[in-house]
């Protein structure tokens, strides 16, 4: 349970809406219970009164009649508002959880988060966050409502007869405590296994599909398919167990409700025959217990899947506990010059959990002085460490040894805002946000006017997109998911446009012209280098043609400058 505690605490912020939701849920249950119990009382009381003409004529049927009508209207209204309030609260909670999680992720180093970059893992992350909001709807609210219903009903009944009050709390209390515990324990293992197997099936299906060409060539497609099918069978087996449990939970609840009502009837009949309670009250107490079990119904299911939710919570905690990047508080000096110095920089990835051996030295003692305004090209084969060098400079990777200075100040001492104000990066992969072209550009310069954006769009040749999309304002064009998918070359252009708009003090390009045809490449590189003529530029490239434009060329191999 300790996995969930930090997340349960989060609910405090929304206690207002959440408790209104819970109160309405409780009211719905109580009205529903009251309706059936009062109707039972009413029918029995009138049946008894109707035996003689005198009692029949003096019987006050107005108040109970009004009560019955009141409960029925009250139940309808309470149910309606309960649904509204709880949905509203869920939306709020979900929004809040996501934004909270986003905020928590911000200061984390991308080194650790790198493994979450794969879309599938991110999807799971989002699902895990969502699982936490189910805690309220599926667990918190029903448990609270059930406990309160049981307590209120028992108190109400003991007003008529202590025996019945005690009987109710015992009968329902046992169910309230035993079933959740039992189903938590029973569901724990299978629930976790089910989650694990689902991931495994996804993996096996991916293996089968991605490896289809190969397995076809090696004549083992059938075997690969069997691997998938075996995992599917395994998953189904676990699901069968879970569904048997779910059925058992429902069955036990149903039996509990019925048997409790029978026992209540037996107890109440005794009290009635001893003259402690009247006949109508006897019927009322039986009907009340029968109806009260509605409140307990959701409990076994909720606890059966609790193990899964815990797993989600512990996975999230694991991420949140990772090391945060610490930024300093230095701002840009007034007379800032973009000289960059690397002094004996070493870097290696932390030991991988599986192979237990430390990774090789990615950077093996780099010392490099780049005067302000120099345009530097960085060359080297794949894996020579040039991208790592850049990721360290931009603080996307942490944990290097040595010293890196920009403008005479160690990069670790800069405040986050200052560092990224001075660095402009065109990364290897451009992220296109699912948003308008305007928003995708404006992130580089929030105060930019449309005219300026359009100019930049034209300059990088993204105005071609207009032809595909008709006449409406090009800047309103929706990109990314649910919109226009940009080709690799167009993504590059977008990244270059962003860099043109931002104009930092230092420009860093990681294979910025990959995927562009030679003519556009020439044109775009001229533009960007022109815009950053007086600034420091570091460029990773594979193209010889680029080198002629640079002031200096550095070759790297095996994590060293050669």
């Amino acid at each position: 349970m300790s996995d969930l505690l930090p997340y349960l605490k989060l609910y405090r912020r929304h206690w207002g809406a959440l408790s209104v939701g819970m109160l309405l849920a409780l009211a719905t249950l109580l009205f529903s219970l009251g309706l059936l119990a009062l109707s039972g009382w009413f029918i029995t009381a009138t049946a008894l009164a109707g035996l003689t003409v005198v009692t029949a004529q003096t019987f006050d049927f107005f108040s109970p009649g009004a009560g019955v009508r009141g409960f029925s209207i009250g139940r309808t209204a309470a149910r309606y508002f309960e649904r509204l309030v709880s949905h509203d609260a869920t939306f709020k909670l979900l929004a809040w959880l996501r934004s909270w999680f986003f905020e928590k992720l911000l200061p984390l180093s991308m080194t650790q988060l790198k493994r979450y970059r794969k879309a599938e893992l991110l999807n799971r992350l989002v699902a895990d966050v969502d699982a936490l909001d189910q805690l309220y709807l599926r667990l918190f609210s029903p448990v609270t409502a059930a406990v309160l219903v049981v307590i209120l009903l028992s108190l109400g009944l003991s007003f008529f007869s202590p025996v019945l009050g005690r009987g109710a709390i015992l009968l329902m209390g046992v169910w309230l405590i035993v079933l959740p515990l039992m189903f938590y324990r029973l569901g724990y293992k299978s629930g976790r296994q089910q989650g694990k197997l689902m991931g495994e099936l996804r993996q096996k299906v991916l293996d089968y599909l991605q490896g289809m060409a190969e397995s076809r060539i090696y004549g083992s497609e059938v075997r690969m398919r069997e691997r998938t099918d075996a995992t599917e069978q395994h998953l189904h087996h676990t699901q069968k167990k879970m569904s048997r449990l779910e059925g058992l939970g429902g069955a036990l609840m149903l039996a509990g409700a019925g048997i409790s009502a029978v026992i209540m009837l037996y107890l109440a009949a005794g009290e009635y025959q001893q003259g402690v309670i009247s006949g109508p009250v006897m019927v009322m107490s039986v009907f009340a217990v029968l109806a009260a079990f509605e409140a307990l119904m959701p409990l076994p299911g909720a606890f059966q899947f609790l193990g899964n939710t815990q797993l989600a919570a512990s996975r999230l905690t694991e991420i949140l506990e990772e090391e945060a990047i610490e930024f300093g508080d230095k701002t840009l000096p007034d007379a800032f010059k973009g000289q960059i110095a690397f002094l004996d920089v070493y870097f290696q990835y932390p030991a991988a959990a599986v192979s237990k051996t430390e990774g090789p030295m990615i950077l093996d003692g780099i010392s490099l002085d780049i005067p302000a305004g120099q345009h530097l090209a960085l060359l080297g084969k794949t894996g020579c460490g040039k991208s790592t060098l850049i990721r360290i400079l931009t603080r996307q990777l942490t944990g290097f040894e040595g010293r890196i200075e920009v403008g005479g100040i160690a990069i670790n001492d800069y405040s986050e805002a200052s560092l990224y104000q001075l660095l402009t990066v065109i990364p290897q992969q451009t992220h296109v946000f699912s948003s308008t072209l305007r928003q995708n550009l404006k992130m580089a310069r929030p105060e930019a006017q449309d005219s300026e954006l359009l100019e930049t769009v034209k300059a990088v040749g993204l105005d071609r997109l207009a032809a595909a999309e008709g006449d409406h304002n090009l800047l309103d064009l929706w990109l990314g998911q649910g919109g226009v998918a940009l080709s690799g070359g167009e993504q590059r252009r977008l990244a270059i446009a962003r860099a043109l708009l931002k104009k930092g003090e230092v420009l860093i390009m990681d294979e910025a012209s990959e995927g562009l045809d030679p003519i556009s490449e020439d044109h775009l590189m001229n533009q960007i280098l022109d815009a950053y003529r007086d600034k420091t530029v570091i460029m990773i490239t594979h193209k010889k043609a680029m080198l002629e434009r640079m002031d200096r060329v550095i070759q790297m191999d095996g994590g060293r400058v050669v």
């Binding site: 293996d207 699901q239 069955a251 149903l254």
Partner: protein
């Protein structure tokens, strides 16, 4: 591709239920028995109370009836359990069949079509979308039958006992189809909106998580954090407006359920008191019948209310079905093949005559009338700009594309062979190594019957032994892709071991060293040097050094063969090759 409408997707889903009819029927029957047993339970309870209150029966004399009630309750619980299990089995069968159908379809579509989309989107369909069908089959479908049957049974029981009570039920009964439609249309709409809003919100969140690095570099994290909040608020407002109305429809149902209890209670009370004197066929209302009818009232509406709560299962299932159906209805092109087989030891020479391959976009040929000869044991480079048809050519040779024209293998028509047999003669290594989630052994054998010594020999030949030696579990160590315990170069050497584990007559390499660093590139090329000289090797490449070491070069451009000859000769005499090679020399990878 045809757009799949919701209606058609629903129809298709219903059509998928036939293999699971029996489970569904069992689930419905158990639900119905449960309903009938409830009638018995209600009747017994009413009878016991009647005897205590009206006939002053002693508690002890009622033990028999009380025990009988408990027995009925236990039976009901068993029915409920059984219903849950049979429903689950029904869903299981449907999922198994549909998952199998999708995988078979993907198999028929072949690896080239699969590669058109990110593999993750396929696996989401095969795993998650199929799971979405479970609740629909297991709960919604049986509940649909019960929502009609149980109220009907209650009416049949109620009418002979008291026609007024029957009328109170029936008065709302014609509304049941209306409710069904209301719950159906309105709740569906609400559900759809609800889910769409949630999905869009989820998409927004995911998108910003993926782009977090970019956001940070542009110092936009705070801003996006704020817009995440505003977007969520916005979605909440819009969705709640719709839900406010949509919830009303199910509230109507709730209202009738509550009000019919109230009317029934008042009617019965007034009858007992003598104010009302109709409904019971002149026999007068007894406490027994009054209580019995009262207990039936909530149960009359319960099945419908349950149906409403399962409604989201339907919209999820239909949404999933739309996507699944879209894939299942894709056209597949079958590669012509015969039954012939090529003897193990036959050396492979290749001859292509006017080979033409049509792309999936109509009218665009990927290869146009390409003709060439490749002799046994020849080392051939295929070069050309990207999109020239190089990969199409090797994929066609491996039997993954339909083609026009002729391909002859050792003098015989390729289409006369069974593709399974032909592919046994080939090994292939692509640009991106494919590593499955499994051990080193599983990765090298890939489902073939190889013993450990064969695997070890292959690893040694592929210069991959050192990788295995580093892993404490050796051949049984689990391999993890990118970012796990393997670099791309190491992964490629494992993939190479897979390719050369069994002797073959044709080795096809598609830019095998394009994503490798210098060290791994050398190891892979060294390993390839040692290949059996009788084995024909075709390499798609951009590396000058590799081109120079070949016996022959075929150059493609726009799907046409523009040069064919020895590398030295072509470099001297062919203008297209000269231009292309000059371009390659501009890339620093070739230094």
């Amino acid at each position: 591709m045809r757009r799949i409408t919701e209606k058609r997707a629903y129809k298709w889903l219903i059509g998928q239920l036939s293999p699971t009819q029996n489970w569904l029927l069992a689930s419905i029957i158990l639900g119905l028995i449960n309903g009938l047993l409830f009638l018995a339970q209600a009747s017994l309870l009413a009878k016991i109370i009647h005897q205590i209150v009206m006939e002053d029966a002693v508690r002890a004399s009622l033990i028999h009836d009380l025990m009988l009630t408990v027995m009925i309750i236990v039976l009901r619980a068993l029915c409920h359990w059984g219903r849950e299990i049979t429903g689950f089995r029904a869903g299981l069968v449907v999922r198994e069949v549909i998952r199998g159908a999708i995988l078979n379809k993907l198999k028929a579509l072949g690896p080239l079509v699969i590669a058109e989309q990110p593999a993750g989107s396929w696996s989401t369909m095969v795993v998650e979308q199929v799971e979405e069908l479970q609740e629909f089959v297991a709960r919604y479908i049986p509940q649909m039958a019960l929502a009609v049957l149980i109220p009907l049974v209650i009416l049949i029981v109620a009418f002979p006992m008291n026609w007024t009570a029957g009328l109170i039920f029936l008065g709302t009964a014609p509304l049941i189809p209306v409710f069904m439609a209301l719950v159906g249309i309105k709740a569906a709409e609400a559900n759809r909106r609800n889910f769409r809003a949630l999905n869009r919100l989820g998409g927004f969140f995911l998108d910003r998580l993926q782009g977090m690095e970019t956001l940070r570099l542009f110092q936009r994290t705070r801003h996006e954090h704020e817009s995440l909040k505003t977007a969520s608020e916005d979605f909440r407002h819009k969705t709640m407006q719709v839900l406010r109305l949509a919830f009303l429809s199910s509230t109507v149902l709730e209202f009738f359920a509550s009000v019919s209890i109230a009317i029934l209670a008042v009617y019965l009370g007034m009858s007992f008191l003598g104010y009302l004197n109709f409904g019971s066929y002149g026999a007068g209302v007894s406490l027994y019948s009054g209580l019995f009818l009262l207990l039936l009232a909530p149960e009359f509406y319960q099945p419908l209310r349950d149906l409403g709560t399962h409604y989201h299962a339907k919209s999820k299932a239909v949404g999933a079905a739309e996507l699944i159906l879209e894939t299942l209805e894709r056209e597949e092109s079958r590669v012509h093949q015969g039954k012939g087989s090529l003897a193990m030891e036959t050396p492979v020479s290749l001859n292509a005559e006017r080979l033409t391959v049509q792309g999936s976009v109509e009218g665009r040929a990927l290869l146009k009338e390409v003709s060439f000869d490749i002799a046994t044991g020849e080392r051939v480079a295929i070069i050309g700009p990207s999109g020239a048809g190089k990969s199409t050519l090797v994929n066609t040779l491996m039997g993954f594309w339909n083609y026009q024209g002729k391909i002859r293998v050792a003098g015989e028509d390729l289409s006369s062979f069974s593709m399974d047999n032909w592919r046994k003669r080939i090994a292939w290594l692509g640009q991106q190594p494919m590593i499955i989630h499994g051990t080193v052994y599983e990765n090298v054998s890939l489902g073939r019957d190889l013993d450990e010594s064969q695997v070890n020999r292959a690893l040694a030949k592929a210069q991959a032994m050192e990788i295995v030696e580093q892993l404490p579990e050796g051949l049984n160590a689990l391999l993890q892709e990118q970012g796990g315990n393997l670099s791309v170069g190491q992964a490629q050497r494992i993939a190479l071991a897979r390719a050369i584990a069994e002797p073959v007559k044709l080795l096809i390499l598609d830019e095998p060293t394009a994503s490798l660093d210098a060290y791994n590139e050398r190891l892979v090329l060294d390993a390839l040097e040692a290949i059996d000289p009788e084995c024909t090797v075709i390499t798609v490449t951009h590396r000058l050094k590799q081109i120079d070491s070949m016996d022959r070069v075929l150059m493609l451009e726009n799907g046409q063969l523009v040069a064919d000859g020895e590398p030295g000769v072509l470099k001297r005499e062919s203008a297209v090759v000269q231009a292309f090679v000059a371009g390659l020399a501009g890339s620093l990878d070739n230094e």
